[in-house]
Subunit: 196 residues, 2 copies
């Protein structure tokens, strides 16, 4: 009787992925703010610190040799090489947080999600969708950080990424920030009752 | 883009099961009252109407021959024989309601749930748990509808039924009626975002 899933002090790992421009970062930051109990995960990278970035707060800054050793040890939930630098999410702190009953929230891409799925941690994956390609285009233009050509490339990529939705457990349309965040919170709350 | 699961006008069938005395009927009635949009399912039975029971409202009262013909036609989501009478849930009205975008809620036992799982309808199963065997015993005694011997039998059955929890998607402890109902509503809301 005491071994019911709703009484287990075991947390869950939540992944939020979305095509670029869908507002993933805003949604995830809001979720973190609303529920401070999420375990915070600090990524490891081989790139140099920028500006005020601090080791152990923004990233763990390490050498390429050390990073590769960690890959061989299977120490990453997921990792990727971007523009010549490695980025990875160490597994141990998250596994420890889940065991202590905390939830963890990661905002990573589709490739990363595929890697994390193999880790065996209790996992729920959420895909955030733009309300339409037209709205996505408007958002990217409004943001003004990309050239028209880059916007076209991003939209093509987004179209491709949307087909990955079926690999996810849940899909939420980010029409209104508040509603999308509330939908994700509902999904997260419901997982408390999930039978393992 | 318009074929996202959260936009699909397709409902889902929810099943709530629980050991006797867990308060399943109270919880399900409250859920029905709070959300009137649930499709209502009328069971079919071969037993005689009692008191003010009305055909087409409380049950469909039919002959054994008709019921058996419906079994052969595969017309039931689930059926069972209890004390010599047949009871069954017709599939067609529920399938129709789901297609129209309504959710349906059924309160059935573990055997029935096993049958419904084979029907291919989008289904979420929820197991309601008593807070403890001690509380369950107290509730049965307070209800006063069973003899001490029947209570012992029911408790033994409950102990056995609890092992079926692992066949369900979600498990909710019915400590406080309001909290348990709210938990089930959260589970139901979250399924809206489920990727099929």
């Amino acid at each position: 009787m005491n071994r019911t899933s709703s009484k287990k002090t075991r947390g869950r790992l939540f992944i939020v992925s979305a095509p670029s421009g869908t507002g993933k970062t805003t949604v995830v930051n809001l979720l973190m703010k609303v529920d401070a109990r999420f375990a915070r995960s600090i990524s490891m990278t081989t790139r140099e610190p920028r500006g005020r970035e601090k080791n152990g707060r923004d990233y763990w800054f390490v050498s390429a040799a050390y990073f590769k050793k960690q890959i061989r040890r299977g120490a990453f939930l997921e990792y990727a090489r971007v523009l010549g630098s490695f980025y990875g999410t160490p597994k141990a702190p998250i596994a420890k947080a889940l065991k202590a009953g905390h939830n963890a929230l990661m905002s990573i891409d589709i490739q990363g999600t595929r890697q994390v799925k193999k880790c065996g941690l209790p996992l729920t994956t959420i895909f955030l969708l733009p309300p339409s390609m037209r709205v996505l285009e408007q958002r990217l233009r409004k943001r003004g950080t990309e050239t028209p050509r880059e916007i076209t490339e991003r939209l093509n990529l987004a179209r491709k990424e949307l087909t990955a939705m079926n690999e996810y457990d849940y899909a939420v349309v980010n029409g209104q920030l508040k509603e999308a965040t509330e939908a994700i919170r509902t999904i997260i709350r419901a997982q408390r009752y999930r039978v393992q």
